[in-house]
C-alpha cells in the first residue's frame, strides 16, 4: 500500500464505523485521528528520505486522481492530524452531555479525511472534490445544534458565502486544465501569461471565501454558533486554512499583479479584522475575528512573494488558535456562555485552561521564545523585503500591534471581575486537549529551522535585527495598550462601527441583498402581469372551446355511439358463428379452405 493514503483512510474508516456501529463513538473517532497522525508522520519521514511516491487513482479519462506526498503536503498533513487528534480529545469532554454524538464524530472524522485529501491532492479534480467535502462538513458541523435558529442560520450563511467564492475555484480550475491540458497541479501551475493572471485572481476569490478575508469575513464570526471544538478545528488547520493553503500551493502561478492583489486583500483584512476583534463583546467572536486577521498576515506573506513565511505562520497559528479555542470551550462550560459579561474572572476559576490560554495568547502576540514570535518575524521580514514594502510594512506592523491589543484585552477581561462558576464535566479530557496544543504552540518555533530545510521554497532576505526589534516593539506596545486602555477609548469614534463588523453602509445585506431583492420583486411583478395575460388568453380560448364542444356533442358523439353499437352488434354475430357444434365449425373451415383455393386459383389463372 502506498503510504500516501495512510493519513486519509483511518478517519474515513472511522467515520463509516461510527455510522455503522453507533457505539464506542469517541474511541473510534480518536483511533481514526491518531492513526491518521501516525500515518502522516510516517509519510513525512518517508518524504524526507525521498521514498514516497505519487499515487495514481482512476479518475476522469486521461485525468487520473493523484495523491502527491511532497514535503509541503506531508507537513500540512501532520499539522492537520495533530490538531484533529487533540481537538477530538478535547471534544470527548466537551461533548459529553450532548445528544447526536454519532453525527458529531462521524462528520468530524469525515472532515479530517476530506482535509487530508485536500492537503495531499495532486490534481485539481481531487482537490475540488475535497474542497466541496470540507464545505459540506463545515455546514453540518456549524449547524450541529440545528434546533437553534442562529446555528442553522450561521451554517447556511457559511455555506452560501464559501459556495459563492468557490465559483472562483471552479472557473480557475477549468482555465488551468484547459490551458495546461492536464489536471496535475504541479504541471498546470507552469501556465503563465494572461491565463495565470486570471486564474490567480479567481483562486484568490476562492481563498478569500474560505479564509474569511474582507469583504467575505462575516460568516466566520457567525459560525461561532457551532460547538467550540468545531470552531477550533475549522479555524486552525482545516476549513479556513484551506484558502491560505490553496494560495501557498499555487504560489508559483501568481503573477506580480495577482501578488499585489493578494497582499492588498491580506493587508486590509489583517487591520480591519483586528479592529473588529478589539471591539467584540464575545470571546469566541473575538477569536474568530482574530483568525481572519491572522490569515490576512499570511496573505501578506504570499503577496510579498514568500509563501514559506505564510506556511510557518499557518503552522504556528494552527496550534495557537486551536489551543485558544479549546480553552474558550472550557470557559464556556464553566459559565454557560462565551460573552465577556459572563466570563468575568473565569481565569481565576479555571487555572489550567487559563494558563494555556495565556501562553497561546502571548504566542499569538509574538512574544519570544514562543512560536508566534518566529513566524510573525518571518512575515514581517517578508513584507519589508518585498517590492511593496512601503505600504505592506505599515500594514503588517499595524496587524501585529492590533493582535497584541486584542489578546491583552481578552486576558484582562478574563482575569478581572468575578462570576458564578458551574461544575465542569469531563474537564480532564479537555485539559489534555488544550495542553496537547499549547505545547506545540510554545515550542514550534524551534522546529522552523528543520522545516525550512525540508521545504524547497525561497526564504525572506531581510533577516536582521531591525525586523526583530520592530515586530517585538509592535507586539509589546499592543499588549500594553490592550491591557491598560479599554476598547472604546482605544478605538474612539471607530468603536461603534467596529462593533457592527465595519459594515460599509449596511454591509453586504444592503450592498448585495437589497438590490437583489428589488430585482426579484420587479421580476415577480412582471411575472404577475404575464400570468394575468396568459390567464386571459386561456379564458378566451376556453370560451371558444366550449362553443366547439357543444357542436361536437351533437355531431361526433352521435357518430361514436352508433359506431360502438355497430361494433357490439358485430361481436354478437361473431358469437353466433361460434355455435360450439363441431360439424358446424368444420363446415365453416372447409368452406373457408375452398374459398382460399378459389381465390388463389383465380389469381394464378389471371397471371
Amino acid at each position: 500500500m502506498n503510504a500516501v493514503v495512510l493519513p486519509i483512510l483511518p478517519p474515513l474508516i472511522a467515520a463509516l464505523a461510527v455510522l455503522i456501529l453507533r457505539r464506542g463513538l469517541p474511541a473510534l473517532a480518536l483511533a481514526g485521528a491518531t492513526l491518521s497522525l501516525a500515518g502522516s508522520l510516517w509519510l513525512l519521514v518517508r518524504v524526507t528520505n525521498g521514498q514516497a511516491e505519487t499515487l495514481l487513482l482512476p479518475g476522469l479519462p486521461d485525468m487520473p486522481l493523484r495523491l502527491v506526498p511532497g514535503p509541503l503536503t506531508s507537513l500540512l498533513a501532520v499539522a492537520v492530524a495533530t490538531v484533529g487528534t487533540f481537538v477530538l480529545i478535547h471534544a470527548v469532554g466537551y461533548m459529553r452531555r450532548e445528544s447526536g454524538q454519532a453525527r458529531f464524530y462521524a462528520v468530524m472524522s469525515l472532515f479530517l479525511a476530506a482535509m487530508q485529501a485536500l492537503v495531499l491532492a495532486g490534481d485539481w479534480i481531487l482537490l475540488l472534490a475535497a474542497w466541496e467535502l470540507i464545505g459540506l462538513c463545515s455546514y453540518l458541523l456549524i449547524g450541529f445544534w440545528f434546533q437553534r435558529p442562529e446555528a442553522a442560520n450561521a451554517a447556511s450563511r457559511a455555506f452560501l458565502y464559501t459556495r459563492s467564492a468557490d465559483l472562483g475555484l471552479y472557473v480557475a480550475v477549468f482555465l488551468l486544465i484547459g490551458s495546461a491540458g492536464t489536471s496535475e497541479i504541479a504541471v498546470s501551475l507552469e501556465a503563465g501569461g494572461s491565463v495565470s493572471t486570471a486564474a490567480g485572481l479567481l483562486l484568490l476569490l476562492a481563498a478569500m471565501g474560505k479564509s474569511a478575508q474582507i469583504p467575505l469575513q462575516d460568516w466566520l464570526m457567525r459560525a461561532m454558533a457551532g460547538p467550540t471544538p468545531v470552531s477550533a478545528l475549522l479555524h486552525s488547520a482545516t476549513l479556513v486554512a484551506a484558502g491560505a493553503i490553496l494560495l501557498i500551493r499555487s504560489a508559483p502561478l501568481l503573477t506580480p499583479e495577482v501578488l499585489f492583489a493578494v497582499g492588498l486583500v491580506g493587508g486590509i483584512t489583517t487591520v480591519a479584522a483586528g479592529v473588529i476583534a478589539l471591539a467584540e463583546h464575545d470571546l469566541k467572536r473575538l477569536l474568530a475575528a482574530s483568525t481572519a486577521s491572522q490569515y490576512g498576515l499570511m496573505l501578506i506573506a504570499v503577496g510579498a512573494g514568500v509563501p514559506l513565511a505564510a506556511l510557518l505562520h499557518l503552522l504556528a497559528h494552527a496550534a495557537i488558535k486551536s489551543a485558544l479555542f479549546l480553552a474558550a470551550g472550557d470557559f464556556q462550560h464553566a459559565r454557560g456562555g462565551t460573552a465577556f459579561d459572563q466570563l468575568k474572572g473565569v481565569g481565576r476559576a479555571r487555572p489550567w485552561a487559563f494558563a494555556g490560554f495565556v501562553l497561546a495568547a502571548l504566542a499569538l502576540a509574538g512574544i519570544p521564545p514562543l512560536s508566534g514570535f518566529f513566524s510573525k518575524d518571518a512575515v514581517i521580514a517578508a513584507a519589508l523585503s518585498a517590492s511593496g514594502a512601503p505600504w505592506l510594512g505599515p500594514l503588517v506592523l499595524a496587524g501585529t500591534l492590533l493582535t497584541g491589543a486584542y489578546m491583552a484585552r481578552a486576558l484582562r477581561l478574563l482575569w478581572q471581575g468575578s462570576g458564578e462558576n458551574q461544575p465542569v464535566a469531563g474537564s480532564a479530557w479537555m485539559r489534555v486537549g488544550i495542553w496537547g496544543l499549547v505545547i506545540p504552540a510554545v515550542v514550534l518555533g524551534f522546529a522552523f529551522g528543520p522545516i525550512e530545510a525540508i521545504i524547497e521554497l525561497p526564504v525572506a532576505e531581510a533577516e536582521g535585527t531591525s525586523v526583530v526589534v520592530l515586530g517585538l516593539l509592535a507586539a509589546v506596545i499592543g499588549l500594553a495598550l490592550g491591557w491598560l486602555v479599554s476598547a472604546p477609548h482605544l478605538l474612539g469614534p471607530v468603536y461603534r462601527w467596529a462593533q457592527r463588523g465595519l459594515a460599509v453602509g449596511g454591509g453586504l445585506t444592503a450592498g448585495v441583498g437589497r438590490p437583489a431583492m428589488a430585482v426579484a420583486r420587479g421580476c415577480d411583478r412582471l411575472e404577475g402581469r404575464l400570468y394575468a395575460a396568459v390567464l386571459g388568453a386561456g379564458r378566451a380560448s376556453l370560451a371558444v372551446a366550449r362553443q366547439v364542444r357543444v357542436g361536437d356533442e351533437r355531431l361526433i358523439n352521435g357518430l361514436i355511439f352508433s359506431l360502438v353499437a355497430g361494433v357490439r352488434g358485430l361481436g354478437a354475430r361473431a358469437r353466433t358463428l361460434q355455435s360450439g357444434l363441431i360439424h358446424h365449425s368444420l363446415a365453416i373451415s372447409a368452406t373457408a379452405t375452398a374459398v382460399l383455393l378459389v381465390i388463389l386459383f383465380s389469381a394464378s389463372l389471371s397471371f
Binding site: Q578, L586, A603
Partner: protein, 450 residues
C-alpha cells in the same frame, strides 16, 4: 452423423427429459418428475445458447438449425417451464401428475420440431407430436367439459392434419422430394404449389388457431386446466407460426401466398377482438385475444423473404407474446375464470393488479412494454413490403383491443368489490418472471434494436 447430433443436443435433451419425467412418474415420484422436467428443460435452454448464430441444416436438409429454430428453443423452453409451474397448482395430488410434465415435454418437443422443420414430413411429425400430447393434456381432468373439449380438439386436428397430408402429397408428387428447399423447383406447376400451400395453411393454421381454423381453441381452453390453456396459447402456436415461416421462406414471391396470409391476418385480428369483446369468461376472452394475436404474427410472415425485418420481428413478438400471455394467464389462474373475479383486484392485491395491467397493456401494444416493440417491428416489416394497408388494419385493431382489455382492467380498480385471489407461490414465480420479461424485453429491445 456425429456433428448433426451435436447440433441437436437441445432437442435430444428435451426428449430425454420427457422420458425421465415419465419414468419418475412410473416410480410414483411426481415431485421428482417435476424437478427433472424443469431442470432438463433449463439445461436444454442452456445448451441452445451455444447454438446462437448457427445457420445450417442437419439430416440432409430435413431439419434446420437456424435463427428461427434456435430462438424458438430459447423462447419455448422457458415458456414450458413456466407453464409447468402453473400446471403443478392445477394437477398437484391428482392420480397421474407426472404424466402431465412428461406430456408437456413431448408437446414442446413437437413444437420445436415444427419450428425447425426443413421437410414436409417434419411438419406432419411436429403437428402430430404436439397434437397427441395436447389432446391428452386437455382431457386430463376427466370431467365432462374437458372430455368434450378434447374430443372436439381431436376431431378438428384429425381433419385438418389429414387435409395437410393430402395437400403435401401434391408437393411430393410435383417436386419429387419432401424437402422444403426443393419447393422453388415447382415453378412449372402452380396448381400443385397452391394446393399444397392451402393444405399447409389449414394444418398449421389450426395449430396456430388462425381464423377460420380456430373453432377448437375457445372450447379447448375453457375445458382444459387453466395452465394447459396457457400452454396451448403459447407453445404449439409459436411452433406452428415458426413452421409457417419456414415454409413461406421457400415459396416463390409472386405465387399469391402473401395475399392469402394478409387476408388471414385481417380475419384473425378482427374476428378475434370482436368476439373477445362480448365474452364474460376471462379464459374465452383470452382465447379470442390469442387468436387475434396470431393474426399479428402474420404481419411478419407476409414480409418473409422480402424484408430484413421479417425474422427479427417475428422472433421478438414471439418472445414478448410468450411473456405477456403467460403472465395474464397466471394472474387469471389466481383470480378465477369470470370477469367478476377481477373486481377490486387492483385494490386487494396491488402488486398482482399492477402486473396484470402491465400484461394487458403490453398485449395492446403500449410503449415501452414488450408488446409495443414486437408490434412496432411487425408493422415496420409489413410496411417495408408495401403492405401498408395491412399495418393500418392492425393498428385499428390495436385500438379495438384496448376496449377488450379494458374490460378486465376497469373492474380491477372499481371501488366496493373485493377479489379473493387464492395464490400459490408458483403463481407468484410465473407472474414475476413474466412481468420482468415483459419489461426487460421491451426496454432492452428499444435500447438495442429500435
Amino acid at each position: 452423423m456425429g456433428p448433426d447430433l451435436a447440433l441437436l443436443t437441445p432437442e435430444i435433451a428435451v426428449l430425454l427429459t420427457a422420458i425421465a419425467a415419465l419414468i419418475a412418474e412410473m416410480l410414483r415420484r411426481p415431485r421428482i418428475s417435476l424437478v427433472v422436467a424443469v431442470i432438463g428443460l433449463l439445461v436444454a435452454t442452456g445448451l441452445t445458447l451455444r447454438l446462437v448464430g448457427t445457420d445450417t441444416t442437419v439430416f440432409g436438409g430435413s431439419f434446420r438449425v437456424d435463427t428461427l429454430s434456435t430462438w424458438a428453443k430459447l423462447i419455448l423452453l422457458p415458456a414450458t417451464v413456466l407453464s409447468m409451474l402453473l400446471a403443478r397448482v392445477d394437477v398437484c395430488g391428482s392420480a397421474r401428475e407426472g404424466t402431465v410434465y412428461s406430456l408437456l415435454c413431448f408437446a414442446t418437443f413437437g413444437a420445436l420440431v415444427l419450428a425447425g422443420a426443413g421437410d414436409t414430413m417434419f411438419l406432419v411429425l411436429g403437428t402430430l407430436l404436439t397434437g397427441l400430447a395436447t389432446f391428452a393434456l386437455v382431457a386430463y381432468p376427466d370431467t365432462d367439459p374437458a372430455t368434450e373439449a378434447a374430443m372436439k380438439f381431436f376431431v378438428f386436428a384429425s381433419v385438418t392434419t389429414a387435409v395437410m397430408i393430402f395437400g403435401l402429397s401434391y408437393w411430393f408428387g410435383a417436386s419429387g422430394s419432401t424437402l422444403l428447399a426443393d419447393l422453388p423447383g415447382m415453378d412449372t406447376m402452380p396448381m400443385a404449389v397452391i394446393l399444397g400451400f392451402v393444405a399447409v395453411v389449414v394444418g398449421l393454421g389450426y395449430k396456430a388457431s388462425l381464423v377460420p381454423f380456430h373453432f377448437w381453441a375457445p372450447d379447448a381452453y375453457e375445458g382444459a386446466p387453466l395452465s394447459i390453456a396457457a400452454y396451448l396459447s403459447v407453445v404449439p402456436k409459436v411452433g406452428a407460426l415458426f413452421a409457417l415461416t419456414q415454409v413461406v421462406r421457400e415459396l416463390p414471391a409472386d405465387s399469391g401466398w402473401t395475399a392469402v396470409i394478409a387476408g388471414l391476418a385481417v380475419l384473425s385480428m378482427t374476428y378475434g377482438y370482436l368476439a373477445a369483446l362480448v365474452q364474460d369468461n376471462v379464459i374465452r376472452l383470452l382465447a379470442y385475444s390469442s387468436i387475434a394475436q396470431s393474426g399479428y404474427f402474420l404481419l411478419g410472415i407476409v414480409a418473409v423473404g422480402s424484408s430484413e425485418l421479417a425474422l427479427p420481428s417475428i422472433i421478438l413478438f414471439a418472445a414478448a407474446y410468450a411473456a405477456m400471455n403467460l403472465g395474464a394467464f397466471a394472474v387469471t389462474a389466481a383470480t378465477g375464470r369470470t370477469l367478476s373475479g377481477f373486481g377490486g383486484l387492483g385494490r386487494a392485491r396491488p402488486l398482482m393488479g399492477i402486473a396484470m395491467v402491465i400484461f394487458l397493456l403490453s398485449l395492446v401494444g403500449i410503449p415501452p412494454l414488450a408488446g409495443f416493440v414486437g408490434k412496432f417491428m411487425l408493422f415496420a416489416a409489413a410496411i417495408d413490403v408495401q403492405f401498408t394497408w395491412l399495418a393500418v388494419v392492425a393498428i385499428v385493431n390495436s385500438v379495438l383491443s384496448l376496449a377488450v382489455y379494458l374490460r378486465i382492467i376497469v373492474p380491477m380498480y372499481r371501488r366496493g368489490e373485493s377479489a379473493s385471489a387464492a395464490t400459490d407461490p408458483s403463481h407468484g414465480i410465473v407472474v414475476i418472471t413474466a412481468f420482468a420479461a415483459t419489461l426487460i424485453i421491451g426496454l432492452a429491445a428499444q435500447l438495442f434494436i429500435v
